[in-house]
């Protein structure tokens, strides 16, 4: 026979699970939110510019010029889909929007290769399209191995080498962190609403006249949602591997332990919100109010290294900041939780403070 506090906690958790299983919309959200988010952030928002439609004019048509074209095409940043006859036609295609970039190799290409004072070729870019300029400019500057005969002029002093994401794909950076964003989104709002709903429907007036203690009520309500959060984590992880080829370099156990800690911390925040909000609508609003800074400041999508100091302090208070750190560490860099002890500790402190604050704020009284 379990001791009374544990039995009451279990009673709350079982009741919560039962109610959850009857709420079809909530169940749909458990699966729907992660999938929608994956689609939006994984496919919809993409800073990688690839397969830019381009044209090439090769008036030299020598061995070296053909090799230069093949070389640039192999980067896949541009696809040479048009071969206009001259510079004028190339420009016309860009104006009409059929292509967004063009490579022009003049007839005196071979002479220019020897003459270091004059450019060998010209790249024309449609400046009206975001992202294209940076991407295409980058490939013309890169020292590609097949670009023989340019050694004297263009070899850069520093070799650029991007580790853990050599192709510099946004999905690899975003998808692991997306686990944290999705959990923040669903967990805070689920718990906040779970308690506020009972207040709104009058259940709380009955519940607080029973022997259930505040802390038992809080923990009992958290437990089922930790399970829901771990299911969501799995969903995003599987989708990330299958759809976006995200490598999982670290241990799954570390990953789930970290996720469990973050889920509990986020749920704690939800409970605090639920002690402040009087209606479900207010709980939703407060949930989104904490969500926005989490998404913008956690380093999930925007690097916060460049942010002002105050903003960096705010970011430190957000559990998502530390979880994004843990996620990228474990999933991409193969780090262990031991190596990531600092963000783990910060999350744990947040969890304890949040649950304590919620239990203190939640008096077993109506006034």
């Amino acid at each position: 026979m379990l001791p009374a506090p544990l039995r009451r906690m279990r009673a709350i958790a079982v009741k919560e699970l039962r109610q959850m299983s009857r709420d079809k919309l909530t169940l749909a959200m458990v699966v729907g939110i992660p999938l929608l988010q994956m689609a939006i952030f994984g496919y919809g928002i993409n800073y990688d510019v690839r397969h830019v439609r381009a044209g090439v004019v090769d008036l030299a048509n020598t061995q070296a010029s053909r090799s230069l074209i093949a070389d640039i095409a192999s980067s896949q940043v541009v696809d040479f889909i048009a071969r206009p006859a001259g510079a004028d036609e190339l420009r016309r295609l860009i104006v009409s929007g059929e292509i967004h970039a063009g490579l022009y190799i003049p007839p005196d290409f071979e002479r220019r290769r020897i003459d270091a004072t004059r450019p060998v070729a010209q790249v024309i870019i449609d400046g009206t399209r975001p992202g294209v300029d940076t991407a295409v400019r980058a490939i013309t500057e890169a020292p590609l191995p097949g670009r023989t005969g340019f050694k004297r002029r263009a070899s850069p002093a520093i070799e650029v080498l991007t580790e853990f994401n050599p192709e510099r794909r946004t999905a690899v950076q975003v998808v692991p962190a997306l686990i944290g964003v999705i959990l923040s989104m669903t967990m805070v709002i689920f718990t906040a609403i779970a308690l506020v709903r009972e207040r709104e429907r009058g259940n709380l007036e009955l519940l607080i006249t029973t022997p259930v203690r505040s802390i038992e009520l809080m923990v009992g309500k958290l437990l089922p949602y930790i399970g829901v959060g771990l299911i969501q984590t799995t969903l995003v992880l599987v989708a990330g591997v299958v759809l976006f080829d995200v490598p999982i370099n670290g241990s799954l156990l570390d990953l789930y332990l970290g996720a469990g800690l973050f889920i509990a911390a986020t749920l704690g925040l939800g409970l605090v919100i639920s002690t402040i909000a009087a209606t479900q609508f207010q709980a939703m609003q407060l949930g989104f109010f904490t969500l926005l800074p989490s998404i913008l400041l956690s380093g999930f999508a925007f690097p916060f290294e460049g942010s002002p100091r105050v903003v960096q302090y705010i970011a430190q208070v957000l559990p998502l900041t530390h979880f994004v750190e843990i996620l990228r560490g474990v999933i991409l860099r193969g780090a262990t939780l031991g190596a990531l002890w600092l963000p783990v500790l910060k999350l744990a402190v947040f969890l304890v403070l949040a649950v304590a604050l919620a239990a203190v704020r939640f008096h077993k009284r109506l006034d």
């Binding site: 026979m1 009374a4 039995r7 009451r8 279990r10 009673a11 709350i12 079982v14 009741k15 039962r18 109610q19 009857r22 709420d23 429907r201 009058g202 259940n203 007036e205 009955l206 519940l207 607080i208 006249t209 029973t210 022997p211 259930v212 077993k364 009284r365 109506l366 006034d367």
Partner: protein, 314 residues
């Protein structure tokens, strides 16, 4: 705990919500093993008083002792001794009747065997079998109320607070409900019930009449009716309009209510022969009527107690 003492004692119990005085210096002494009623109109402070008695709301001032415990300080110790039925249905509407009872049983940490036996007894006693597996939200008013009473009594509390338990219930179900309450008191349970129905108030062993936060009368219903400091006169007439006009200027008239072709009048006690007095007033207007004295009802007590205070000053 002293078994002989009152179940509930309150002195100078007051609660303000901003400018509103919801409960104003209430004095309560409620004996054990009885049904005690709070009778009062909407907003008279019935719910607020009940909530203070179970520690849900802190009094602005005053002291409360419930079953020998100092409330709200010792409210947690009261939890297992007390059952509370809120004015609004407060069980979980998306859980079935059975699941609601099972949940309440585990929250009160009844031993599994004992819980099953208590739930079985409740199904029997409150006729829950026909809707036992249905979500509580789909139940009728009377079914919800039976379920709520079953939930409030699962742990066999010695004190039961019921806030307007029969407001959504037909007269037959109300009678059945009161049978259940008497069965509970027969086993020693103290019951405090709020209502605005006269017939219910009359069933209580004793009651307090609340008006705008104040207890304006209290005692056993029979005693209150006998002690009413007003004279009750009934006037039967075809010409109720004329009769009303004739009585209009009468100083000692405290209240006049019409029931069909009868006028029900409450007069101050300073009128020596009220029947003769009224007959002469009616005759002066040429109104034909039968005038007679009547027994005071609880409604008369209620009306008398809740008259505008200015009217009581003579």
């Amino acid at each position: 705990m002293n078994e002989s003492g009152a179940a509930i004692e309150a002195h100078g119990l007051t609660r303000r919500f901003g400018a509103v005085v919801a409960v104003d210096h209430a004095e309560l002494s409620i004996p054990r093993g009885r049904i005690y009623g709070f009778l009062g109109p909407n907003g008279s402070g019935k719910s607020t008083t009940l909530r203070m008695l179970c520690g849900l709301i802190t009094p602005t001032s005053g002291t409360i002792r419930v079953l020998g415990l100092d409330i709200p300080r010792q409210a947690e110790a009261l939890r297992t001794l007390m059952g509370y039925m809120t004015q609004r249905f407060s069980l979980w509407e998306d859980l079935s009747a059975r699941e609601n009872l099972e949940f309440m049983a585990s929250v009160y940490t009844l031993e599994p065997g004992h819980a099953a036996q208590r739930i079985g007894a409740a199904v029997e006693e409150y006729h829950l079998a026909e809707f036992f597996e249905r979500p509580a939200g789909t139940l009728s008013g009377g079914q919800k109320q039976r379920l709520a009473l079953a939930a409030a009594t699962l742990h066999q509390p010695s004190l039961l607070l019921l806030d307007e338990p029969t407001s959504a219930v037909d007269p037959q179900s109300r009678r059945d409900f009161w049978e259940s309450l008497f069965a509970l008191t027969a086993r020693g349970t103290t019951i405090l019930v709020s209502t605005h129905y006269m017939d219910e108030a009359e069933r209580c062993h004793a009651l307090a009449i609340l008006d705008r936060g104040r207890i304006v009368a209290n005692g056993a219903p029979k005693q209150l009716m006998a002690d009413l400091p007003l004279q009750v006169i009934e006037i039967e007439t075809e010409d109720t309009v004329g009769a009303r006009a004739a009585l209009h200027g009468l100083d000692s008239l405290r209240s006049l209510a019409q029931l069909g072709l009868r006028l029900h009048a409450l007069l101050a006690q300073d009128v020596a022969d009220p029947v003769a007095c009224i007959e002469s007033l009616l005759a002066g207007r040429g109104v034909k009527a039968r005038v007679r004295r009547a027994e005071a009802s609880l409604e008369d007590v209620f009306v008398g107690a809740t008259l505008p205070r200015a009217g009581q000053e003579h």
